[in-house]
């Protein structure tokens, strides 16, 4: 690790630590109206009538009739309405909003509104829906030939559930009418320019009449990539209609039930094996997209590109569909489609290895991709694949191989142990040529006469540390103290569009642009002068062009890698799996700040363990999610995984700042494969097929084993 990696006190530490940081809920002016959404109680119905009682003075009801511009939220396909049209498509869909000065009165009015629905058929099962929002295919080699020549063919189905981002600060946005017909929106968000594009369109206002700023943001994890655009349009419409400041902050139950979460999936793997080697995979990936498309296209693309895992499979057919159902629209969650397919491929590889009588680790390493190999999309792994070394590093700290042998012996008694290992990548940055064709990032550095340097970018710190990372890069290049670099929460009136804070792109792409800008500023530095430096994104030249039409080319410039090991003990009386140790080795390139990167890895790793084990959420037949509180939707506490260890392995990426590459999402991708392999071993080598695998599932599995 170089000098840049040494940790500093985070730039936002003090304001957050003392409680002084201002989140959107913390503005206390007396002229802010509270907005509360009238949510649909039906998963699919015609809206016949909304009977609003007579409103007291100062209270308002707004709905689609108040949308001055286009009643469609700009995300990708723009099919989600700001306020419901003639039908509602999921429980929770916004029909309208009640606004007023007193929150309890607003709630009282909401409860007095009567909505008359006419029921329409409700579809919650992806296998029963006849609408595919997106349908993609990846092909490579000749699978027909490979299946014909196979010694053995395996076919298994894997299912994964919802996972909610569960940022501690719920969704919240506020809109303020300003002089000359301008509208100002601010709140808890990841992507100011996404919100700007959506709000200008919904309000029918030109770009210069709207500006968006980020407040302190209490976590995102993907959950504040698309939803702030939707909520932003709603409070924006309300503010324009009422002429007042309007703020809407979700309650926890509202947030858990009605905001986008990870796509549940149903993945069928058909695998051909010849001479002890996987020769082909025919994979059918089905994601539950929910009621509107929102981000499903891009989540699905990433999901299917990962469907063969880190393995070199010469013949591939991968079909991926995002299916419409009458459940809450699924959206972005750290990992973005990868966690669903990675757990599936890791499990199928385990099961085949066991069937062939080979140790799963040995079997997986035999298939591991290496530098120069071709990817699922016939692109190339341009850089070193460090998985073999990472496995050895982890084995040294947790004795994986020894324990794996030990726990393979027959176990009796109440407590039984297992250990599992998974290996994954995360493609760094946007899929394909998104950076070049859509994002076109621009960054600026502004130097004032007194020598202070301000970073002007639209990227946001939602806890992951950008407010420290970016100034560190600029300070290093300019050889200035960190205190001389300013990086405020972005406001679109002042910052250029350096792209959204998603896809593990910020440090790698925007950080590199800032690095280039700082180099230029240093070269052109003039004491006592005001200076402005601007840099534009340049697509790396070594890339094989990617085409979305046939899914061919380099989907990502480079990859971050992980190896995870989970060791656990199952209580056969209660079913409870206790994680004894969670060990993660992560390669995200050069860490720009060691503590920050380790903090990202630890936090993401624990979320990923939660996804595998305890975070159970489902919609019932009526389309309602009942796990809508912290007593029903359980996320890990400080006691659940007491022994979680992270180590870093560094393969530098030459196009990232000091060798850094994508970091944020990687740790949230890998735990389920390791977790399930450990559970399977503790349960004496049963083949399991879904996550989360809860204590109840353990009991069911034990019961079934007894029956046999």
């Amino acid at each position: 690790m170089g000098q840049i990696s040494g940790s500093v006190v985070k730039r936002d530490h003090s304001t957050k630590f003392s409680g002084a940081a201002i989140y959107v809920g913390d503005y206390m002016e007396s002229d802010i109206l509270t907005g509360k959404i009238l949510h649909s109680q039906k998963a699919h119905a015609k809206l016949i009538e909304v009977k609003v009682p007579e409103l007291p003075a100062g209270y308002y009801y707004v709905d689609r009739r108040d949308v001055p511009g286009d009643n469609n939220v700009n995300i990708v396909k723009d099919d989600m309405p700001v306020f419901a049209r003639e039908t509602v498509e999921y429980i929770g869909e916004a029909i309208g909003m009640v606004c007023g000065p007193d929150e309890s009165m607003v709630e009282h009015i909401l409860s007095a509104i009567e909505v008359v629905y006419e029921d329409l058929p409700v579809v919650t099962d992806v296998l029963k829906s006849d609408t595919a929002f997106f349908d993609y295919t990846i092909t490579k080699g000749d699978i027909d030939k490979a299946f014909k020549e196979a010694d053995k063919v395996y076919e298994e189905v894997f299912e994964t559930g919802f996972q909610d981002q569960t940022y501690l600060e719920t969704q919240g946005m506020m809109a303020e009418p300003q002089a000359e017909g301008r509208v100002f929106l601010h709140g808890s968000l990841q992507c100011p320019y996404y919100v700007l594009n959506a709000v200008t369109r919904a309000l029918g206002l030109p770009r210069e009449k709207v500006h968006i700023a980020q407040d302190a943001t209490g976590g995102g994890f993907g959950g504040k990539e698309d939803y702030p655009s939707i909520l932003g349009c709603q409070v924006g419409v309300a503010a324009v209609a009422t002429g007042h400041k309007v703020r809407c902050i979700f309650g926890r139950r509202e947030d858990l039930e009605f905001t986008p979460k990870k796509h549940p999936s149903h993945n069928t793997y058909k695998v051909a094996v010849k001479d002890g080697r996987v020769t082909a995979m025919d994979v059918d990936v089905i994601f539950n997209g929910g009621a509107y498309t929102t981000l499903s296209a891009v989540v699905l693309q990433r999901g299917i590109i990962c469907a063969n895992g880190v393995y070199d499979v010469p013949n591939l057919h991968i079909r991926g569909r995002a299916i419409k159902t009458n459940t809450v629209p699924s959206g972005a969650y750290r990992g973005f489609g990868g966690p669903q397919t990675f757990v599936s491929v890791e499990m199928v590889m385990d099961h085949i290895a066991r069937d062939l009588g080979i140790r799963p680790l040995e079997f997986k390493l035999k298939h591991l991709v290496k530098k120069g190999d071709s990817t699922s999309t016939s692109g190339k792994y341009h850089f070193d694949v460090p998985i073999v070394e990472m496995v050895e590093e982890l084995d040294r700290i947790c004795d994986y191989r020894k324990k794996r042998e030990m726990y393979a012996k027959p176990q009796t008694g109440r407590y039984r142990r297992g250990i599992g290992l998974s290996m994954c990548f995360h493609g760094a940055g946007f899929t394909g040529s998104g950076e070049r064709d859509f994002i076109k990032a621009v960054v600026r550095l502004k130097k004032s006469a007194d020598g202070m340097v301000t970073i002007l970018i639209s990227n946001t710190d939602m806890g992951q540390g950008l407010r420290t990372i970016m100034p560190k890069i600029v300070a290093k290049e300019l050889d200035l103290p960190l205190t001389q670099i300013i990086y405020e929460y972005p406001d679109t009136d002042f910052v250029p569009d350096s792209g959204p804070t998603v896809a593990s792109r910020s440090t790698m792409v925007v950080g590199e642009l800032l690095c280039q800008a700082a180099k230029r500023l240093r070269a052109e530095w003039q004491d006592g002068e005001e200076q402005m430096i601007e840099e534009h994104y340049k697509h790396p030249e070594f890339l094989i062009p990617f085409s979305l039409d046939d899914f061919k080319g380099d989907a990502y410039p480079t990859y971050s890698w992980l190896v995870n090991v989970i060791e656990l003990e199952i209580d056969t009386y209660t079913g409870r799996p206790q994680v004894l140790g969670a060990y993660g080795c992560f390669d995200v390139g050069t860490p720009i700040d060691y503590n920050i990167v380790v903090g990202q890895m630890e936090g993401g790793f624990l979320q990923s363990i939660g996804y595998a084990s305890m975070e159970y959420m489902t919609a019932d037949k009526t389309g309602r999610i009942r796990n809508n509180s912290f007593s029903d939707y359980i996320i890990p506490t400080a006691m659940d995984v007491p022994n979680l260890k992270v180590i870093l392995h560094t393969v530098e990426y030459p196009e990232g700042p000091y060798g850094a590459k994508g970091a944020g999402e990687l740790p949230a991708v890998g735990a389920p494969g390791a977790y399930m392999e450990a559970v399977e071993q503790a349960l004496e080598s049963v083949d399991l097929h879904h996550i989360p695998f809860t204590a109840e599932d353990v009991l069911k599995s034990l019961e079934e084993a007894e029956k046999k």
Partner: protein
């Protein structure tokens, strides 16, 4: 008014004239503008609204004002003026234990409540002590480490 609720808030004698059924969390934020007290669930599950009531860590969303009569309430704003705070602050900063920050005011007060009872806690005691405060960002490791540092650096203070 004689039937006002009398309590000490961050060291100041305070009279609350509102409804005794009002939620402490709402009153702290809206009446006294103590916005360091965060609302994460309003159901007593997440700990973001933790404050100290007579030295005990409580979820302010689960306490009615009437229950505060005669008590001593300390929020992050009051606690940040103490020597204990300085030690805990430095410890969290040293290991970058603050990410999104939303759980932090509650976490800081949970740290204080723990160290008052157990000045030299084991790791298990720390994890138990913080288990009523959810954090989604850190995986808790850095926070546990920070509490260990605070206990060591603040030796004798608690």
């Amino acid at each position: 008014m004689s039937d006002a609720i009398r309590f000490t808030l961050n060291g100041e004698e305070t009279l609350y004239n509102g409804n005794p059924a009002d939620r402490l969390l709402d009153v702290l934020r809206e009446t006294y503008k103590l916005t360091g007290v965060k609302c994460g669930c309003k159901e007593g599950e997440c700990g973001a609204c933790s404050v100290l009531m007579d030295g005990e860590l409580i979820n302010s969303c689960m306490v009615a004002l009437g229950r505060c009569e005669g008590s001593n309430i300390v929020t992050i704003e009051g606690f940040s003026k103490t020597e204990h705070f300085q030690v805990i602050d430095k410890a969290y900063a040293a290991v970058s234990a603050v990410q999104c920050g939303y759980c932090i005011p509650g976490m800081v007060l949970a740290t204080e409540a723990l160290l008052v009872k157990t000045p030299h806690p084991t790791e298990e005691e720390i994890r138990t002590g913080l288990s009523g405060n959810l954090c989604r960002c850190t995986g808790y490791n850095a926070i546990v480490k920070a509490v260990q540092i605070a206990a060591k650096e603040g030796d004798g203070l608690w």
